[in-house]
């Protein structure tokens, strides 16, 4: 019904109330307000209002509405169903897709007041009821346990005919947590929550919403307790961890037990210096003298045999045109030369290894053994004197034997020894003196006083003294044979072989021409002997000459400086024949040339070149 008619009595009463209200404190009601209108299923709806100030008097409220396109005012059909201060519109009173104009009027004895009108379209105020029958259960699959939540739609919503379409949402949290995890379930009515923590308590809530409307309220929470479980993956990892810990312990214990061997393997001990006779303790004790004395090994350096002799070559030749050439090759040079002409046993060092001494044959002199014994010194002295002239002999020191140890100290002697097994074995040996025992030498050796006599003025008498400051030093003298008249123009020399050093420190030598030669060292030289250097040509060619005195040698051989053996057999041993050998100092040679002379046991004496 509409608003009551008859304003006059109302006005009178109202005026009276207004006049009297200051005394009584009554007033018209305040303006009510429509709070909310909701439809749970898009078929009915309810509106609630909020009353204003009642003015101290009992106030009644009435709701009036009007449909769009019509001026007819209707009053709320049902004030009860929905509770206090509400109006319930039933299905018959509800029209969809139509705007409702709703207002509430509050009235009391003093007056009334009207609320603000509210426009409502039922379709857009749909808020369904909460979902029902929420059930949570713990299920298990291959990956472990999970939560399954099931629920039902609110009963009032008619989704079956498609009248309303609902979408659902759920939220989960641990009981002790504060934040929820929300999941959208769409239109389905179940949901799986995976990977929950074992042993925890969870809370689950569900709500729903129509396609165009408001979310429902959350359901009352459902509690679920997760059981304790050990996932398979976790157990596997635990086993892996245990096994690896066990292995680590085992490894550590093994390392501890085999500490030393491991240390030896990882950090191999650095070998210390091994010096025979070196006693670290002595050094630590600070007694250096004792230590150094301990270093002295008896029998070192060896002094036993003549084979350990270091022989120096003294090459002195007397030529008016020529000066005394004293060529001393130091250890290094000699050994280097020997190495450069490696295939030749005698190369470079000449007769040093072949134990031949090129002795001077002194025709007009006679010498005694003592003189011979002094010859060595003299030779040394001469060599020394010549050494002064020749700067190429730095190793000499007053011709004294004391230089020998310094010479001997070179370690190359060992190498030398190895390279020439057949030759004169070199070793560190202190030979006090060399005695020339050969009768031929005697004459020469007796010329001690005539040091300068080494410079023989006699033609034909040549004395080649070649100093090899190597391990084996031989006293080599090139002597001219008086028999060789045909060789008058040539320089002839005879090699002697050092046999031994007797007890009186006399060097015993034997001429190389001696068939009873002590050693067959020169067996490889079983040919003719081209050990005489005859001449050196202008273009650095050494001319070797066959030695007539060594006629018993069947074959001849020629060697060039670089060690190429060029056997050259002579047909007539007795005849003097010249084996020509092209021996270039700096070029490999194979041709033979005349007047080549080989020194001693086949070495090409390069001192001729120098002169």
């Amino acid at each position: 019904m509409g608003i009551s008619s008859g304003p006059k009595p109302f006005l009178t009463v109202g005026v009276l109330f207004i006049l009297l209200s200051p005394a009584t404190g009554f007033s018209a009601p305040g303006r009510p307000r429509v709070i909310n209108c909701r439809s749970p299923e898009k078929e009915t709806f309810t509106c609630w209002w909020e009353p204003g100030d009642d003015g101290g008097l009992p106030t009644t409220y009435a709701l009036y509405y009007r449909l769009e396109g019509s001026e007819t005012i209707y009053e709320c059909p049902d004030y009860k169903t929905a509770g206090e201060n509400s109006c319930f519109f039933s299905k018959n009173d509800t029209s969809l897709w139509v705007d409702y104009n709703i207002s509430v009027v509050a009235s009391n004895d003093m007056g009334k007041s009207v609320s603000e009108p509210v426009e409502v379209d039922v379709v857009y105020i749909v808020q369904p009821n909460t979902p029902e029958s929420v059930m949570v259960s713990v299920l298990e699959d291959n990956h472990g346990p999970y939560l399954r939540v099931d629920w039902e739609k609110p009963q009032s919503a008619d989704t079956r005919s498609g009248w309303i379409t609902l979408v659902y949402q759920l939220r989960v949290k641990q009981a002790k947590d504060e934040t929820w995890e929300e999941y959208d379930a769409g239109m389905q009515k179940y949901y799986n929550v995976f990977s929950p923590h074992s042993g925890k308590e969870y809370m689950v809530q569900v709500r729903c919403k129509p396609d165009h409307g408001f979310w429902s309220e959350w359901t009352t929470p459902v509690y679920i307790q997760m059981p304790d479980y050990m996932p398979k993956v976790r157990s596997m990892w635990i086993m892996v961890a245990v096994i690896s810990a066990f292995l680590i312990l085992l490894f550590a214990w093994t390392m501890n037990v085999k500490q030393n061997s491991v240390k030896h393997c990882l950090l191999p001990p650095v070998p210390g210096p091994k010096i025979q006779g070196f006693d670290q303790q002595l050094l630590k004790n600070g007694k250096s003298e004792e230590m150094f004395n301990a270093l002295v090994i008896p029998g070192f350096p060896p002094t036993s045999t003549y084979e350990d002799l270091l022989v120096e070559y003294l090459e002195v030749y007397d030529d008016e045109k020529r000066e005394l050439v004293l060529n001393e090759k130091n250890l290094i040079e000699g050994s280097m030369k020997s190495k450069s002409t490696s295939s030749d046993n005698d190369s470079g060092r000449g007769s040093c290894d072949s134990r031949t001494l090129l002795m001077e044959k002194c025709v007009d002199e006679s010498g005694t053994e003592q003189e011979l014994s002094q010859y060595g010194e003299a030779s040394w002295a001469s060599s020394d004197s010549e050494g002064r002239d020749n700067p190429a002999s730095p190793g000499l020191e007053d011709g004294k034997v004391q230089m020998w140890p310094s010479v001997f100290s070179s370690p190359q002697s060992h190498n030398f020894q190895q390279q020439h097994p057949g030759g004169l074995r070199a070793s560190h040996h202190s030979v006090p003196e060399i005695s020339c025992v050969s009768p031929q030498v005697q004459t020469c050796c007796g010329q001690q006083d005539q040091l300068e006599g080494f410079q023989f003025s006699k033609p034909g008498l040549y004395r080649y003294a070649q100093m090899y400051s190597m391990d084996t030093i031989e006293c080599k003298h090139v002597a001219q044979e008086p028999q060789s008249q045909s060789q008058s123009q040539s320089q002839s020399a005879e090699y002697v072989e050092v046999q031994t050093v007797n007890q009186e420190n006399v060097l015993l030598v034997t001429p190389l021409s001696n068939p009873e030669g002590p050693n067959p060292e020169l067996s490889d030289f079983s040919g003719e002997d081209y050990s005489k250097v005859r001449d050196v040509t202008s273009d650095n060619v050494l001319l070797l000459q066959r030695d007539l005195s060594v006629s018993q040698f069947v074959g001849d051989y020629c060697q060039d400086q670089i060690g190429q053996v060029d056997p050259c057999f002579l047909q007539q041993q007795q005849q003097e024949q010249t084996c020509k050998l092209n021996a270039h100092l700096h070029h490999p040679a194979s041709a033979l040339q005349e007047d080549m002379r080989l020194a001693g046991n086949g070495y090409v004496d390069t001192t001729m070149m120098m002169s």
Binding site: E68, S95, L96, D121, V123, T159, G162, M187, D211
Partner: protein, 190 residues
């Protein structure tokens, strides 16, 4: 015997065909529902944007300035409640939906193509017409629906206003109901 077998095979074939057509119809129905839903959301967005630009005073006056009585869709009789809707046939519902969409499509064309609504409405109309044709096979045509020609001109603001929003909502509801009635769609089950 042979005739009996031939008849049986024809019936089975017809069933298959009808089922095929049913499934095709089902697909079209679902498609139509989805399209309407989208249109509804689009209209809601447009209204919201429009109202945000208005001053608060103008908003209050909106219903007064543009009275709803001018809405021509009232001429189309459409169920306004669930019961009425349930009583209407599928074909009726489809037809009504078609009319509603049509009444929306014309003004939107005049206003320019906001958010490509015109094309979408046209597509939806086409789909509904197809559904109608499918429903009309062997069925009676709709007689009790008053065909009223849409006015050539409709108010601009009402086009943007709640009317179209409402229309889309109506159509959506009708199509859903019709769809659920025609098939055992999972969306319609309890």
């Amino acid at each position: 015997m042979a005739k009996g077998l031939m008849l049986l095979s024809v019936v089975v074939a017809t069933l298959y065909v009808s089922q095929g057509s049913t499934s095709e119809n089902q697909r079209l129905f679902n498609n139509a529902v989805i399209r309407v839903q989208h249109l509804h959301q689009l209209a809601a967005k447009m209204i919201t944007e429009f109202e945000e630009r208005l001053l608060p005073d103008e908003r209050r006056q909106l219903s007064k300035i543009f009275p709803l009585s001018f809405c021509n869709s009232d001429s189309i009789e459409a169920p306004t409640g669930k019961d009425e809707t349930q009583k209407s046939s599928v074909l009726q519902l489809l037809y009504i939906s078609y009319r509603l969409i049509e009444s929306w499509e014309h003004p939107s064309r005049n206003l320019g193509n906001l958010n490509q609504i015109t094309e979408k409405l046209a597509d939806l109309k086409l789909g509904i017409s197809v559904l109608i044709d499918g429903c009309q096979d062997g069925q009676l045509t709709v007689n009790d629906v008053n065909d009223s020609l849409p006015l050539p001109f409709e108010d601009f603001y009402q086009t943007l206003g709640g009317k179209h929003l409402r229309k889309s909502n109506k159509v959506e509801t009708y199509l859903r109901v019709a769809n659920c009635r025609r098939s055992l769609d999972s969306n319609c089950t309890l």
